[in-house]
């Protein structure tokens, strides 16, 4: 390449850099967020929240692509096939929720421990390393997609295991980043003060990080492989994540409603006992049909049937606390999303899970859209909602603790975002449930699950129309997301009234 062309490229790159910097500055002056309102830990937390929101967008986008392919199978055929879209859809979900959780913990870590974060610099480095790794993994998913049947494919492209597809190199990176996060939590509490919330959080993070390792091995024996795979997936989303959400919820209710610490922590222990008491052996409901012994039918059926109990307790807890404080709080959208969490978790994880958890019915529902129906409402209800509630708590503080009430001028935005997102996900859930019923009857019960039976069920008008409704409600969800982002960026802008100080009572 000659020098003049090189100079041209350099100039273009410089101009592009200049332009993007100008755009960023314009954006900053538009949102008018004052970062001096945030502590160092909170500044790190909002970085995690930002990436979480971007990945939330990716989740919905690739979900819409995959949903479209159910209706038009040739859409993006051999460009972005269903398996690629679906993989990014569910991976973006897992990762954005984890980013959200990590952000929540960094947000309250200093407040809860009463001291500054010990390894803040390390925490920042870990953030950039993780974000860089996530970007590379997604680019490889999109551009390389698949590899030959060799170990190198599993190390560098994808592991081909639903939910934990990330290639092995990224697994190792994730574990390192989680260890840094864990160190920051433990070291900060040790330097400051411990509390019940801190203790539960620490033990939960040990389990959460440890379990991930169980999913990092290749095995020829598919029964063994799926056995350990469920250790990660189930013990994350039906045990350790639920407890982590309990911790975040506990802290949020103290801040938002002024609930007494003693009451909150007692509730938290009750929830841990119920959650782990039912959830750990409830793992057995994944061991009905993968080659594992028959005793899992009994153990899995019994304990997973108990899994809704802690979720009922959480609804009681949230509604009772809100009621005794007469719903008095200075952040209405956050409280609304917390109430949505209590009910979403109960219905999505509890009711929808219970509906098909007993082996007598699961024999017919296993591997149908029934699971997708449950998955949509449970992940949204239990985990998306609490993260969104926390985004509102964070943005309020970032704005300088201004009043965020239901009567404010632009409150329609968060109300509509709340309605569209919940309505959209609920609509998808019902559509998928109808498809699941139809599959259970036609493909499983009548046709005996042959390939012919599978397609008979897929071609059935009630299945096909369910897929159209799912896409429709997916776009509703997407609209809700756009409104949510707009609201998060603008809520409280220009508001001068301070939120009332919530005093513990």
């Amino acid at each position: 390449m000659n020098t003049s062309r090189l100079n041209g490229v350099m100039q273009n790159a410089a101009a592009l850099g200049e332009k993007s910097r100008a755009c960023l500055n314009d954006f900053k002056s538009w949102v008018q967020l004052d970062s001096t309102n945030l502590s160092d830990g909170q500044q790190l937390a909002v970085k995690y929240f930002t990436v979480a929101v971007i990945l939330f967008f990716a989740q919905i986008l690739f979900g819409l692509l995959a949903a479209t392919q159910f209706i038009y199978p040739s859409f993006l055929y051999e460009i972005l096939d269903f398996n690629v879209n679906r993989m990014i859809h569910i991976n973006a979900m897992i990762v954005w929720m984890l980013y959200g959780f990590i952000g929540c913990v960094y947000w309250f870590l200093e407040d809860e421990s009463g001291t500054e974060i010990v390894g803040l610099k390390l925490g920042n480095i870990a953030f950039w390393v993780l974000t860089g790794a996530v970007t590379v993994v997604v680019l490889v998913y999109l551009l390389v997609q698949i590899g030959p049947g060799k170990d190198s494919s599993l190390w560098f492209i994808n592991e081909g295991r639903e939910y934990i597809e990330a290639p092995r190199w990224a697994d190792i990176g994730i574990v390192v980043v989680m260890l840094i996060f864990f160190y920051n939590v433990v070291a900060t509490f040790s330097k400051g003060k411990w509390s019940g919330i801190a203790g539960v959080l620490t033990l939960d993070l040990v389990a959460l990080a440890g379990l991930y390792v169980a999913g990092m091995f290749y095995m020829t024996n598919i029964t063994h492989e799926q056995y350990w795979w469920w250790w990660v997936i189930h013990l994350w989303v039906e045990a350790t994540w639920e407890v982590l959400v309990g911790v975040i919820m506990a802290w949020s209710l103290m801040k938002l409603l002024g609930v007494r610490r003693k009451i909150i922590q007692t509730w938290l222990y009750i929830e841990v006992a119920l959650m782990f008491g039912s959830g750990i052996l409830g793992l057995g409901h994944h061991y009905f049909w993968i080659g594992t012994p028959e005793y899992w039918l009994t153990i899995g059926g019994f304990f997973s049937a108990l899994e809704p109990i802690p979720l009922v307790a959480m609804v009681v807890h949230a509604v009772y606390d809100s009621g005794t404080h007469a719903f008095k709080n200075g952040n209405h959208p956050a409280l609304a999303w917390i109430i949505a969490q209590a009910f979403g978790n109960f219905f999505g994880a509890g009711v929808w899970g219970f509906m098909h958890t007993l082996p007598q019915i699961n024999l017919y529902t296993h591997g149908t859209q029934w699971s997708a129906s449950h998955g949509h409402l449970a992940f949204f209800g239990a985990y998306a909602t609490i993260n969104i509630a926390f985004f509102y708590l964070a943005i309020q503080h970032w704005r300088g603790d201004v009043w965020m009430g239901g009567g404010s001028q632009n409150a329609w935005r968060w109300k509509w975002a709340l309605g569209l997102l919940n309505g959209g996900v609920l609509g998808m859930t019902i559509a998928l449930l109808i498809a699941g019923y139809e599959q259970s009857f036609i493909e499983r019960a009548v046709e005996g699950s042959t390939w012919g039976g599978y397609f008979t069920a897929q071609n059935h008008p009630s299945f096909q129309s369910a897929m159209v409704w799912r896409l429709f409600f997916g776009t509703i969800t997407f609209a809700g997301f756009i409104l949510l982002v707009w609201d998060l960026l603008t809520i409280g802008k220009g508001e001068t009234r301070k939120a009332p100080e919530i005093i513990e009572s």
Partner: protein
């Protein structure tokens, strides 16, 4: 002010949480060790890889009220008898290929995965392969060039070309045959195999 009863106190629930968690986890560890032993390749529930040399079927057992895998006489795969180690290598190649090609994000295996394409648990035994004589050949051709050998059943859903080599295709077929011999507690229910008479 009355004293807090023991069952409503923080310390009682703290201890309960610790004991319940530790107890449940301990039971899980014991059950895990038992399960892994009972499901190692070569166990009663999960046959050795050399089962690919045998005829595999899946028949309804009236006494048990569920279908059970039936291992029959010799029925070589690709006309060759494999030693246990050769069989393991072939199944391993197939299993690894199913992961590297991300099959699980369209198909289900043992009922787990995505729901855009049929379940693979008993795919080896599916009537869709028309007859046993044609099965191996049809499967290899389909896996290597799914677009031109599409099996859409009127759905317009076609498997994309995943650049599967012939050796990989044979590995996948060996893996599917081995997987169909696993005792899955009667899942899927009411499945009529390619062996069944109409």
């Amino acid at each position: 002010m009355e004293e807090t009863p023991i069952w409503a106190s923080e310390s009682f629930w703290k201890k309960t949480a610790i004991w319940v968690t530790a107890g449940s986890f301990l039971i899980l560890v014991v059950l895990t060790m038992d399960t892994l032993t009972k499901t190692s390749a070569g166990s009663k529930r999960v046959p050795a890889y050399a089962v690919i040399n045998k005829k595999v079927d899946y028949q309804y057992d009236k006494a048990l009220h569920k279908s059970m895998p039936i291992i029959g006489e010799n029925e070589f795969l690709f006309g060759k008898e494999y030693t246990e180690e050769e069989a393991r290598q072939l199944v391993d190649l197939g299993k690894k290929t199913t992961q590297a090609k991300n099959c699980m994000n369209c198909h289900t295996l043992l009922g787990n995965g995505a729901y855009f394409a049929p379940d693979l648990t008993k795919a080896w035994l599916d009537k869709g392969w028309i007859s046993k004589d044609m099965r191996e050949d049809m499967m290899v051709k389909f896996l290597m060039d799914p677009e031109n050998n599409a099996r859409t059943y009127g759905s317009n859903r076609k498997m994309p070309n995943l650049k599967i080599t012939e050796q990989e295709a044979k590995g996948i077929i060996a893996f599917l045959k081995w997987m169909s011999s696993i005792d899955t507690n009667g899942f899927p229910y009411n499945f009529k195999t390619i062996e069944a008479e109409d």
